[in-house]
Symmetry: C2
Subunit: 349 residues, 2 copies
């Protein structure tokens, strides 16, 4: 049997057409999920301690934040932009311990930390101990995008941010009455406590207001970001876990994205965020199993407290905390949405 050149060409065209159709059909059937999950800190968040107005305020801002991040993802934006813009919104709210509303250190200054990580390239950027930067997360993003460094601290980081045109605000912008009263209260209590150690009794009464976000975009890229004012009355240039890659923030397209909140030292010592990723990668844990193991076994056994949010490469979301509550919310491309503050019967989703 013989074919003319024309017949061969036609058959080839037909082949190309069916292949492309199959590919398209596959894409439609297995659409890349996208999602965003956020936290606004863990601590003694109890329904009986909050007024109806307060509950509504937190609910509103959490909803606004996930909607903002989700909208970016929906329009085809990157997970990096989604987490950065979502964190920015949370930093701008005085309700959280990040940006406006950051706690005061023992010098009466707001010293803030932030970090961001790109799960595709493992590129990361972070700033620690910076003052007067309106949105520390923007400075962290610029460290990642515009330098070969990962972590910049203090005055040097501020000079860098200034050169990059990041917005600065005077001390008054960051001042919130509640945070200042907390400082005075902690300092008064600490006068009765010897030395420089953190008073563990105070710790138990604390609201941690660190903010964090993890997103998965339409291209399957994961990003994570965290921002905080650290601990009230912190001393000696203490840096917590928020600006530390692998402790407070981690993202890896192979596994998941993570953001932590709590007493940072425990998350540093356990490399909490990296550990969640490794449990998924090396031990085939689900996101839920991994975060539960790290919070309720590794962190708890050291005496640490706090919580974490996780979003894996398949769009599964998990969170866990060993405190009374954690401000948390998510929105997924399949329509799922949750906004929570208090402890549920099952604290992992």
């Amino acid at each position: 049997m013989q074919y003319t050149l024309r017949q061969i060409g036609f058959l080839f065209l037909l082949f190309l057409l069916t292949t492309s159709c199959k590919k398209k059909a596959k894409e439609i059937l297995k659409e890349q999920p996208y999602a965003i999950v956020i936290h606004g800190g863990a601590g003694t968040i109890l329904p009986e301690n909050m007024s109806a107005t307060q509950k509504e305020q937190y609910h509103t801002i959490l909803e606004k934040a996930i909607k903002k991040g989700f909208f970016i993802l929906e329009k085809g934006g990157t997970s990096l932009t989604a987490v950065q813009k979502t964190i920015q919104l949370l930093e701008d709210s005085p309700l959280f311990n990040a940006g406006k509303g950051a706690v005061f250190d023992n010098q009466g200054k707001n010293k803030m930390d932030a970090s961001i990580m790109d799960g595709k390239t493992l590129n990361s950027g972070a700033v620690a101990g910076v003052s007067n930067i309106k949105n520390p997360i923007n400075a962290a993003r610029l460290v990642m995008d515009s330098t070969k460094y990962v972590l910049l601290f203090g005055k040097g980081a501020e000079i860098f941010a200034q050169q990059q045109g990041v917005k600065f605000e005077p001390d008054a912008y960051f001042y919130t009455k509640g945070r200042h009263e907390s400082l005075l209260r902690v300092q008064k209590k600490e006068r009765n406590v010897r030395g420089y150690s953190i008073d563990s009794k105070q710790k138990k009464l604390k609201h941690y207001g660190t903010v964090g976000a993890v997103a998965l975009d339409k291209n399957g890229n994961i990003a994570a970001a965290t921002s905080t004012g650290g601990l009230t009355n912190k001393k000696y240039g203490r840096i917590g876990d928020s600006p530390i890659i692998g402790a407070g923030t981690y993202a890896n397209n192979k596994t998941c994205g993570v953001s932590s909140t709590g007493t940072g030292e425990y998350f540093i010592r356990t490399l909490a965020a990296h550990e969640v990723s490794n449990l998924i990668y090396y031990k085939n844990f689900s996101a839920k199993e991994a975060v539960k193991e790290v919070i309720h076994n590794q962190i708890t056994s050291l005496g640490g407290d706090g919580g974490m949010i996780v979003l894996d490469k398949n769009g599964n979301i998990a969170w866990s905390f060993n405190t009374k509550g954690m401000y948390r919310a998510y929105k997924k491309s399949n329509g799922d949405e949750k906004i929570k503050m208090f402890k549920m019967v099952k604290d992992t989703i």
Copy 2:
């Protein structure tokens, strides 16, 4: 057959005696190994670039350092003390980029980082961006022992160290002609380079002189420590991996102790030290396999350069680097001892 109470007592005594003897014999046969391994930085360390005198100088100090650490372990000292005192000795030598001999940042200052970790408790202490502290490792140890913090930076860390009675030295103490010439050379070259990024060509010509030590003591406790001046001409308060737990330093009695050296950003992004430990714990890798995977796969694939030393809980030592050489040495309780500088045919032991 019947036994008197006396006979039963005698038999029981005999049983106890043989059990205790067996236990003792077992202890003698399986004595807890102890060991110390150190590095003095990785880089373009080539035999043809070093004079005989230089080679001898490095050999002498590396030998002195492992002997010091080993002597502490032999006398029953803790691995924490062994690594601290060994690092102190290396910091006091102008040959390495740590303590005396630290490189200069772009302001012409020595800004040093150090960290230490206890594998038994996962307690850790670190300082970043400190000036004029004679032995930054001593400040890191005090952060671990005397505060509930892990990481202190800059002025705050210096104030803490001062209050703790840590020894300070004037700028002149840290000055070395070679390091200052390096700064001027790098700055001259950088005037032709746009912006703030690290010149990757310069990077290739560099000796990294970070120092690190890992020890396993007679009680089976592992400790790790790292100290550095960071990168020559570093800007904006850049912090590398040396003071970051899980990146530059990690210790866990369940697995191993690790200290890293190289372009810190790659070790931060891969959580290199924690990754080695996790490969041992979760994937049953040997120390040798784990360090090889992290350096030659994970770090190298990102374009990073440097090296690591590992000492596992059974006393096995491994090291690996993707640079031309790495100052490195170890001493074990079974009599093994090695002092190396250049690349061997097999770069992992």
